[in-house]
C-alpha cells in the first residue's frame, strides 16, 4: 500500500508543480561563426570570442532569475550545432560548458537544432494554454529581416538556420502573455523585425536601429551614436 501512496503523492505534487507555473521567460541564443570562415576578414571578422552571445545571455538570465516570481520558469534556448562545430574547431567542450552555466544559473537548458525544433518548442514545448511566455530575449546574429542562429559556421558568410520575418507565421499568435516584454539584442532588428513581431503577436519587441556591440563584455550596447532602440 505504501508504494502506491508514495506514487500518488508524487503525481499530486507533480501536478501541483506543473500547474503552479503560469509564465515562462525565454532567452534565445544563436551560435558563433567558425574562425575558419571568418579568417582574414579584418574588422568585419565575427565572433573572435566564441561565447560573446553566451556571456550576454548569462547576464540577462541572471536578471530574469533574480526577478522571477515563484510561478515563473526561466528557459535558455541554444542553437546547438554552431557550438558543437566551434567546439570541434577549438578542441574545447563548449557544450559541456554551456550545460554547466545553465546548471549554475538554475535555468532549464533546451537545445534546438533547426528552425522547426525552435518553432515546435515555442508552440508546444509547454502547455501554452496555461503557460504563456512572459519575457523573450534574443542574442545572436541578425539583420533587419532575420534572426540568424547559424552564421558563417556551416557556409562562409551565410546561414543555414534562421527565423525570417516571413517565418513568424509559423509561431502561434497566442504564446505570449498580453504584458510580455520582448527584446532582440542583435543588430538591425528594430528596422523591420520589431514591426513584423508586433503585427504577428500583438506584443512589442524592442530592437536596434543600427548595429549592436557584444565585444565589451556586458549586455550589448548600440554601436553607433546615431543608433537607438525602437519598437
Amino acid at each position: 500500500m505504501r508504494p502506491y501512496l508514495a506514487l500518488l503523492s508524487l503525481l499530486i505534487l507533480g501536478t501541483l508543480d506543473a500547474s503552479a507555473q503560469s509564465r515562462e521567460d525565454i532567452v534565445l541564443t544563436g551560435g558563433p561563426a567558425l574562425r575558419f570562415m571568418e579568417h582574414g576578414k579584418g574588422d568585419v571578422s565575427h565572433d573572435v570570442y566564441w561565447f560573446n552571445f553566451v556571456d550576454a545571455s548569462v547576464i540577462r538570465l541572471k536578471e530574469l532569475k533574480d526577478q522571477a516570481k515563484p510561478d515563473e520558469l526561466v528557459t535558455w534556448l541554444i542553437y546547438r550545432p554552431a557550438y558543437a562545430a566551434r567546439s570541434q574547431e577549438m578542441g574545447l567542450d563548449l557544450l559541456g560548458q554551456l550545460q554547466q552555466k545553465a546548471k549554475n544559473l538554475g535555468v532549464r537548458l533546451v537545445y534546438f537544432n533547426s528552425k522547426a525544433e525552435l518553432v515546435a518548442y515555442l508552440n508546444r514545448g509547454l502547455d501554452r494554454d496555461k503557460i504563456k511566455i512572459g519575457d523573450f530575449d534574443y542574442f545572436g546574429h541578425s539583420n533587419k529581416a532575420c534572426f540568424l542562429f547559424d552564421y558563417s559556421n556551416t557556409i562562409d558568410t551565410m546561414s543555414v538556420a534562421w527565423l525570417h520575418v516571413k517565418d513568424l507565421k509559423l509561431i502561434d499568435r497566442d504564446i505570449f502573455a498580453h504584458d510580455a516584454t520582448c527584446k532582440s539584442w542583435g543588430c538591425h532588428s528594430g528596422e523591420m523585425y520589431s514591426q513584423w513581431w508586433k503585427s504577428r503577436f500583438d506584443v512589442a519587441m524592442t530592437g536596434a536601429i543600427g548595429k549592436t556591440d557584444f565585444a565589451h563584455g556586458g549586455l550589448p550596447q548600440l554601436s553607433n551614436s546615431d543608433g537607438k532602440w525602437s519598437q
Binding site: D55, I155, S159, W196
Partner: protein, 201 residues
C-alpha cells in the same frame, strides 16, 4: 597584464601578428571581476591552421585535386563573384549538361576534406572564371544570404580538380528569385530589404 592577455588570446586563436589584429578586430573585454577568456592553441594540421599558415598561390594549379575525386566528375563548376554583393560562389551544372541548366550556388565546404579552391589563393577572386570538376551533392536545405535577403541552393563539396581558366559565361547571376524578379516579401517597399553593410552582426 591586459597586453599579455590580448597577446595570448589573439595569438592563440589566429596566429597572426597581434598588432595587426588589435588594429583590425574588436577586442573582447571580460566583465569586471571575471577572468578573461583564453583560446587554446591552434590545432596543428587543422583546417584553420592550413588556412592561416600555408603559402598562398597567385592562381589555381591546373590538375590539382583535393578531397574525394574517384570516378568521373559528376559536376562542372564555374567560379564568379556576384557584383551586387551576394555571397554565392558561382555556377554548378551536371557534367553532361549545358550551362543553361546551371545553378547559382552557396558552396558548403567539408572541412578536413575539401574546401573552396580560392582558400589557397592570395586573393579570393583570383580564380574568377576558372572552372573545376566538382564531386559532391546538392543539400536538401538552402542557405540564406543576409546581405541580399536571398536563399540559394547549397552544394556540399567533397572533392574537386582544377580544369583551368574559361571564357566568361553569358548567364544571369543569382538565385532564381532574383533572376525572375520575385521579391523576398519581407518589405512592401524594398525588393531587397537588406541595405546595411555588411548587413549582419
Amino acid at each position: 597584464m591586459r597586453l599579455i592577455f590580448l597577446f595570448a588570446f589573439f595569438a592563440g586563436s589566429l596566429f597572426v601578428p597581434t598588432d595587426l589584429l588589435r588594429a583590425q578586430e574588436a577586442v573582447y573585454q571580460a566583465p569586471a571581476g571575471e577572468a578573461p577568456p583564453v583560446a587554446p592553441p591552434l590545432k596543428k594540421g587543422s583546417p584553420l591552421d592550413h588556412l592561416a599558415n600555408d603559402p598562398k598561390l597567385a592562381e589555381p594549379t591546373i590538375g590539382y585535386k583535393e578531397g574525394n575525386t574517384q570516378g568521373n566528375a559528376p559536376w562542372i563548376a564555374h567560379r564568379l563573384i556576384d557584383d551586387v554583393g551576394g555571397q554565392g560562389w558561382g555556377w554548378v551544372k551536371k557534367s553532361d549538361a549545358g550551362w543553361g541548366s546551371a545553378k547559382w550556388i552557396a558552396l558548403q565546404e567539408t572541412l578536413g576534406l575539401a574546401v573552396a579552391p580560392h582558400r589557397k589563393l592570395v586573393k579570393a577572386d583570383a580564380d574568377l572564371n576558372w572552372e573545376y570538376k566538382f564531386w559532391g551533392h546538392f543539400a536538401s536545405y538552402k542557405a540564406y544570404d543576409p546581405r541580399l535577403d536571398e536563399q540559394l541552393p547549397v552544394f556540399v563539396l567533397t572533392g574537386y580538380e582544377v580544369i583551368g581558366l574559361a571564357a566568361p559565361l553569358n548567364i544571369k547571376v543569382g538565385p532564381p528569385d532574383r533572376i525572375e524578379h520575385r521579391p523576398s516579401g519581407a518589405s512592401s517597399r524594398d525588393s531587397r530589404p537588406i541595405l546595411s553593410d555588411p548587413g549582419v552582426d
